[in-house]
């Protein structure tokens, strides 16, 4: 190039990797958790502070690589002076906070969260859930017992109920076991005769008019539904979905920016959906499988695992798990290959990997058939 003034000059090559410019040192925030003092940088969350003290907080919708949505409420802790519990996964620390992670209020809320999920969602493939249920003494079947075996109540049964409740005080206090035992037997003997007939007559009347439920009995609403199998790569079993929003975040602004799925509907009808619930092949999905990677319940599952589970042949304890590098392109994502019986059955990527943060593309996650066939 002859025109010097527009020539491009390389900057001098650095000899060392330059250090990051020194930012202001983070202010440390002192707080107390379960009676122990701790200091964490400002901007940290309560769950970070708990981690600094090796206190484990149970979580369902939280993942380090995603923006907290604080939807599941499993991680709630008690902050002294606050009216309600705080989600540890997203609440930022404040100086002087006094936090309890296992108070009776905390335990009750966590137990109820587990029971509410357990009574409405199939949690059978959710890792760690059974242990949480046991730890918090959660018994989701309580709802079914109460709602399906309880009062379709004749006046006699109601009378005996009020008799028993007269002995105990206001809301919040449980009936004494003696009263429970007594009235249980008397009520059921009364009930057998006349409430059976009255309930069925009510049922007839109301079902004739408006396809509504029988008075006195109610089904326990759940999200049970058929599995969606509409493509070769992964299945969506929303009967197992706890609506943690993780897949939506992974498909959206936290990783993939594809926006193929979102939460639709409202209240108990809220669910993960493509537009108009079209099958995945008609949606924007690019089959990166990043949603599968973050799903905490197995609602989203790659097809090989789904098929093996269906056949009763999914045996994670026998699987060899090996980290390697994706063979397809120059990004060089770390793949974690799960091998069972000499076949690759699943590919994931570590969430703490700098390159992938757990995310892959369709090739890395699903393009392993050629290995299995050689």
């Amino acid at each position: 190039m002859s025109h010097d003034d527009i020539a491009f000059h390389l900057p001098p090559a650095p000899r060392d990797i330059p250090a990051a410019p020194a930012g202001p040192a983070p202010t440390m925030v002192p707080l107390t958790i379960d009676g122990r003092a701790v200091e964490v940088p400002s901007g940290a969350t309560l769950i970070d502070a708990c981690a600094a003290l090796d206190i484990t907080v149970p979580t369902l919708c939280y993942l380090k690589t995603l923006t907290p949505v604080n939807a599941c409420r499993m991680c709630v802790v008690e902050v002294e002076g606050a009216r309600v519990l705080a989600p540890a996964c997203s609440r930022q620390v404040e100086p002087g906070m006094v936090v309890k992670t296992r108070s009776p209020r905390v335990n009750l809320s966590r137990k109820m969260v587990l029971e509410l999920l357990g009574s409405s969602v199939d949690l059978s493939t959710a890792p760690g859930l059974a242990e949480m249920m046991a730890e918090y003494d959660a018994r989701p079947e309580r709802f079914h017992q109460s709602l399906t075996s309880a009062p379709s109540v004749s006046s006699a049964a109601l009378a005996s109920e009020s008799a028993s409740s007269a002995s105990s005080a206001a809301l919040g206090e449980s009936a004494s076991s003696a009263a429970l035992g007594d009235s249980a037997s008397s009520a059921s003997s009364v009930a057998l005769g006349d409430s059976a007939s009255s309930a069925s007559s009510v049922a007839l009347a109301s079902s004739a008019s408006s396809a509504s439920l029988a008075a006195g009995s109610v089904s326990v609403a759940s999200v049970a539904q058929p599995v969606k199998v509409d493509n070769d790569l992964y299945v969506r079993d929303y009967g197992k979905c706890i609506l943690c929003y993780k897949c939506v975040e992974a498909c959206g602004t936290d990783a993939q920016h594809t926006f193929a799925i979102a939460v639709a509907g409202r209240g108990f009808n809220a669910h993960i959906s493509t537009e108009l619930d079209v099958p995945l092949p008609d949606s924007a999905c690019v089959y990166c499988g990043n949603c599968i990677a973050v799903c905490p319940t197995g609602a989203l599952m790659a097809t090989p695992e789904f098929e093996l589970r269906k056949a009763g042949e999914w045996r994670p304890e026998t699987q060899a798990v090996t980290d390697t590098i994706c063979p397809y392109c120059g990004v060089g994502c770390t793949l974690t290959v799960h091998v069972q019986d000499q076949q690759i059955v699943k590919v994931t990527s570590p969430f703490d990997n700098d390159v992938t943060r757990g995310n892959l593309c369709v090739k890395g996650r699903f393009g392993f058939e050629y290995v299995n066939r050689t």
Partner: protein, 650 residues
């Protein structure tokens, strides 16, 4: 973002409806037909385009109004126009109950079957209409017309869409409204009374039934816009000082000091600031903000303008619930007149200070009254509440510092500035300054809106409304709406002030006083309240999403049992049963047989334990006030109402 818009295309009428709102599309990249010369060598995208996301709900309304429902093609067109991913737009359209995603008759009646109207036969009205009109009838939560007995919102889709309310509504009037093109003349003047408003007489309601709500001149003639001039003269800091001196507490339910809120926004370093007037009034039993907007809309405009001046905001949003077409029309007209008179715009009243107001219409979602859900709704997202902190004064609508106030709160500012904050605060009690609007409904002789000095008693309020119908005894009063508390006759001497209510373990909430005499079936009311929360939960957090369902189920069982013991042939259980049937599950006959044969009161006691544990978890662990209060009316009813004590959770 790589938009993937495939499948159905919008028809001409759908495009026209959207284009009327957004203007014609600029390029083939945004919904115009493809033109290789114009679009072939350039693409447009990125922030500048996706910045239109907040027009999503208005665009959906435009299509709903014109077509009666939002088709896949219309949704795709809106997505192309606004650069919104179709899955997200679907998430938004399915969030709002006034938007339909399947074809339905052009004219539809949304008929209230909520707690106040149920006392006046709403259940049989709805059942009758459903039998006669089928899909053209939709049950609705409270329409904010509880002073009129029963109510229906009529929506008629077409090129000239119509939305209006009939109240009081009869089956005949609703059938007529659906079968003709006529629009009934608007209803009678509301009952508005300020006999107990204190020494200074009527304040908030003083222009109602006096000034002409359609005329700026009339508003000015009755003292309007004098306060804005005063505010401009004394400046922002002095305005906030007066509001603080008046100790005005928010009237939207949370009773937060308004002065502190304004101060925080005024001081917030981030720019721009926004004003949001919360006119989403959806708390069952509440109709005060509707009456204010319909009867004194310029006051709302003037008060918002003062709020903008005080907090350094140039832009205000009025978020009005979709079930209030009359209020929306009144406000739109008032805003237009104020703008034409230079009282809104780049230089308000020639002061050099800019302020304007944009109306946003809700889509049928109680939760959008929660301030952060309201922000999300304005931004074109699902109306899901955000986690607080951060609070709106720091991070509000569009992530900017935002002052959000209830309509009544704002209107109070006019009088307090006029009188001076300290003088104004002499009315009322030490902890609750000023007067409040109470919405009396249910079993009172003269339901209506009563402006009452804070600190008068509940007994006085009910007496103002003419007391109970002759020969009836008081069974219960619901204070504060579905999120409020039931009190019994023993609480009649409770002072109507924040501190008086707190001392009685009650809440005044949004000013609801709903009276139930001894003929009311409270089991039915409780089941309907439980159903309300189940329907209105946004679905974000587990304690509320599933907890409100379980609570409704448990209450349904109790309500049904009370019915079979008390009144054999009753409509009481059919609310909840009809509504429950809309949930995903249908009852299995196996479960039915089982329940019939194995009734035990041990199970009933267990259900009481469940109810109370549910209540605690919802209160403690829910994200927002909806879940946190979803059990409070029910728990207070079992605790305070004698007639329910027999079936009280143990």
């Amino acid at each position: 973002m790589d938009l993937h818009i495939v499948g159905a295309e919008a028809n001409a009428a759908e495009r026209e409806a959207v284009d009327q709102l957004l203007g014609p599309p600029s390029t083939g990249w945004h919904g115009a037909s493809r033109d290789i010369e114009r679009d072939g060598r350039s693409a447009a995208g990125g922030r500048r385009v996706s910045g239109g996301r907040d027009q999503l709900l208005p665009a959906l309304h435009a299509v709903q109004d014109a077509m009666g429902w939002v088709s896949h093609g219309a949704l795709n067109y809106i997505c192309a126009r606004l650069s919104v991913p179709p899955a997200e737009a679907w998430g938004v359209v399915t969030f709002y109950h006034l938007l339909a995603t399947a074809p339905r008759p052009a004219a539809v009646a949304h008929v209230c079957d909520d707690i106040a109207c149920r006392l006046h036969g709403a259940e049989s009205l709805c059942a009758d209409l459903e039998a006669r009109l089928g899909h053209a009838v939709h049950r609705s939560p409270c329409l904010g017309q509880c002073d009129r007995g029963s109510a229906a919102l009529i929506t008629r889709a077409g090129p000239e869409p119509e939305r209006f309310v009939i109240a009081p509504a009869t089956a005949g009037a609703i059938v007529d409204a659906l079968s003709t093109d006529a629009r009934p003349e608007s209803t009678a003047q509301p009952v508005v009374d300020a006999a107990a408003a204190g020494d200074k007489g009527a304040r908030i309601v003083r222009r109602i039934n006096v000034a002409d709500p359609c005329s700026l001149d009339s508003y000015r003639h009755h003292g309007g816009y004098a306060v804005l001039n005063k505010a401009i003269a004394i400046g922002a800091a002095a305005v906030i000082a007066e509001v603080s001196a008046a100790k005005l507490l928010g009237r939207g339910g949370a009773a937060f000091p308004t002065g502190r809120k304004w101060q925080a926004v005024a001081e917030a370093p981030a720019q721009p600031h926004y004003v949001v007037c919360n006119a989403d009034e959806s708390e069952p039993g509440t109709f005060k903000d509707r009456v204010l907007m319909e009867q004194d809309p310029f006051a709302v405009v003037e008060a918002m303008t003062i709020c903008g001046l005080a907090t350094g905001s140039a832009h205000g949003f009025l978020y009005v619930r979709g079930e209030y077409p009359e209020a929306e029309r009144a406000m739109a007209s008032a805003i237009a007149q104020a703008r034409a008179a230079g009282l809104l715009g780049p230089s308000v009243a020639a002061s050099g200070f800019a302020f304007d107001i944009e109306i946003r219409r809700g889509g049928g979602a109680y939760i959008c009254g929660e301030e952060t859900a309201l922000f999300n709704s304005i931004e074109g997202k699902r109306g899901e509440p955000r986690s607080k902190p951060p609070f709106p004064a720091q991070v509000g609508v569009f992530g900017q510092p935002t002052v959000v106030n209830n309509v009544e709160t704002l209107v109070n500012v006019l009088d307090l500035l006029d009188e001076g904050g300290a003088a104004w605060a002499k009315t009322g009690t030490a902890g609750s300054s000023g007067t409040r609007l109470f919405c009396l409904s249910g079993h009172v002789a003269v339901p209506g809106l009563y402006e009452i000095e804070c600190g008068r008693t509940l007994r006085q309020a009910i007496a103002l409304a003419g007391g109970l119908p002759a020969g009836r005894a008081l069974q219960a009063v619901l204070l504060g709406g579905a999120a409020g508390t039931f009190v019994g006759p023993d609480a009649l001497d409770m002072p109507l002030s924040f501190e008086g209510a707190r001392a009685a373990n009650a809440t005044l909430g949004s000013g609801v006083i709903m009276v139930f005499d001894d003929t009311a079936n409270l089991h039915d009311t409780l089941a309907r309240i439980a159903q309300f929360f189940r329907d209105e939960s946004c679905g974000q957090c587990v304690p509320c999403r599933v907890g409100t369902v379980r609570q409704a189920e448990l209450l349904h069982v109790r309500s049904a049992s009370s019915v079979s013991s008390a009144a054999p042939a009753s409509s009481a259980s059919s609310v909840s049963s009809a509504a429950l049937a809309s949930s995903a599950q249908s009852v299995s006959s196996a479960a039915l047989a089982e329940s019939a044969s194995s009734v035990s009161s041990a199970a009933l006691a267990e259900s009481s334990v469940l109810l109370s544990e549910l209540g605690l978890a919802m209160k403690d662990a829910s994200i927002c006030g909806l879940g946190q209060t979803a059990a409070s009316a029910i728990e207070s009813a079992f605790a305070n109402i004698a007639s329910l004590k027999g079936s009280e959770p143990s």
